[in-house]
């Protein structure tokens, strides 16, 4: 369903189409029962950008990613993907509009084979093309070697590669990476981050959630800092990198 997304909705009609943000989040509030996980969060992600989302544990980073992907239904506010509202509670719709979440903890299908995991990644495309599988194996040779092995037997780094390869099977326009470095050896983390940079060069817009702020600020163009459900700082990553992290997390950040 590779939709050519050139139309803009009325709410963003004033902007030039080419400059329309790929993701526009406006005053998003998300609650789990009585707990407010996100409070009035707004952010934008432009085409071809890597935008970092930083913050301590429990700040709401994963909730923000899952809401952008359509898993949660916000109480107020909305998410626009290429100018169209994301339907809360229907993640398959955002997925078909070209968005992929590489979830925290990778969430590969452990009992299924590596190749079956990749095939599921391409479900929104109507058919799994042999070319896409070959491209995945070219990019990730280890996955090619283990294609008929069950995915649960892969190492953590390999599973992260599989999670990204699965996302790429859909030819997405945006990928949300939720803590891709979690639990991986530094050498592997470097590889994953190189890959994210490389994919951006190929035109994939990226949102990168990280607890490891240094890494995220190195890689991203701009970043937002989340603290207990609200954005406490935002700006160019190179500017944010100059600020003491503890201060950043306490909310004494740049602009805002």
């Amino acid at each position: 369903m590779g939709e050519q997304l050139v139309t803009s909705s009325s709410s963003t009609a004033s902007t030039v189409v080419a400059d329309q943000p790929v993701i526009a989040v406006t005053s998003l509030t998300v609650r789990y029962g009585a707990v407010t996980a996100l409070r009035e969060v707004s952010l934008e992600v432009g085409r071809g950008e890597i935008v970092g989302v930083l913050g301590p544990n429990g700040a709401g980073k994963s909730t923000l990613m899952r809401t952008i992907a359509g898993v949660h239904k916000p109480v107020t506010g909305q998410v626009l993907l290429e100018g169209r509202p994301v339907v809360g509670g229907a993640p398959e719709k955002a997925a078909r509009a070209g968005l992929r979440l590489v979830p925290e903890g990778r969430r590969i299908f452990g009992p299924l084979t590596v190749e079956e995991n990749l095939r599921i990644g391409s479900m929104s495309r109507g058919s799994t093309l042999k070319d896409d599988l070959e491209a995945a194996y070219d990019r990730f040779p280890i996955l090619g070697e283990r294609r008929s092995q069950s995915a649960g037997t892969l190492s953590g780094g390999e599973q992260q590669q599989l999670a990204i390869a699965r996302a790429l099977m859909a030819h997405p326009t945006v990928i949300l990476y939720d803590e891709p470095s979690l639990g991986l050896a530094p050498r592997i983390v470097d590889q994953i981050f190189e890959l994210i940079a490389h994919l951006r060069d190929e035109g994939v817009t990226s949102v990168l959630v990280e607890q490891n702020a240094r890494l995220a600020l190195d890689l991203s163009d701009r970043a937002y800092v989340l603290g207990s459900g609200s954005i406490t700082a935002s700006g160019k990553s190179s500017d944010l990198a100059k600020i003491d992290l503890a201060q950043l997390y306490l909310g004494k950040g740049a602009q805002r």
């Binding site: 992907a69 898993v71 699965r166 859909a170």
Partner: protein
Amino acid sequence: MTQFLQQLINGLSLGSIFAVLALGLAMVYGTLGILNFAYGELIAITGYTMYFATQAGLSFWLSALIGAVAAAVASILMQLLVFRPLQGTGFVTLLFASFALSQVLQGIFRQAISPRAKGIPAPEVLSNVFEFGGLRISVLNVVTFVIAMVSLGLFALFMRTSRSGLQMRAAALDLTTTRLQGVSAGRVILLAFALSGILAGIAGVLWISRTGTVTPTTGATPILVAFVAVVLGGLGSTVGAVVGGFVFGILEVFLEAYLPSGVVPFQFAFALIAVAVVLFARPEGLFGKAVEVKV
């Protein structure tokens, strides 16, 4: 030895029905986490459809086919009319909704059709028995076993090789992540209910061929058997459900054959006690994973 083989054959035949029954119940549980206790009424719906079809002059085999299809349609309607509106309300709500649905359907059968048993005469040929090295094997047992095994085989093939099968296997492992790949939850869930209904229909035809009658509470034993087999095999495992069905069927036949005649009326109770003992040793069931609490 002959006696043992004879019972084993009977047990395999009964167990193959239980296996199909249990698989149908496990389908919906695996995808949605719903234990559909109105599943037994699908057997009754197959039975009543067969009854009316044979009354209308259709052949037994054609009636059986229509009966199985009716169960599939009824299963899809259960999802659309009862479970879908309650989506997201939690396990206990859905469980009680399925109990209520079961009672409502039994009430409808009683009021609209009859509280009394309706006969569905099976063709003569099924009651034929042939002897083979001292064993007495009924055509019904053979036909039952063959139909059940072919059904299970086709089901496995569908799940292993088709695109929809892959979607369903992924959805059973992690529905949200599957949806994040662009797979429609509504479609997968509807397919799970359709397959569950087809399996109930096939098991229903085999069950009704054995009992020869249908009553408003025809579904009571099948749902209990399916539930026990699913738990025995391990909740959430389709392979476990099939194995659980066979084990329970064979167990029941052997208890009936070998228990002292005075306690044979309690064979079903003994079978349940045996299952309880197995679960005491392996709480997760034969093929289940250690119990995980789904958040």
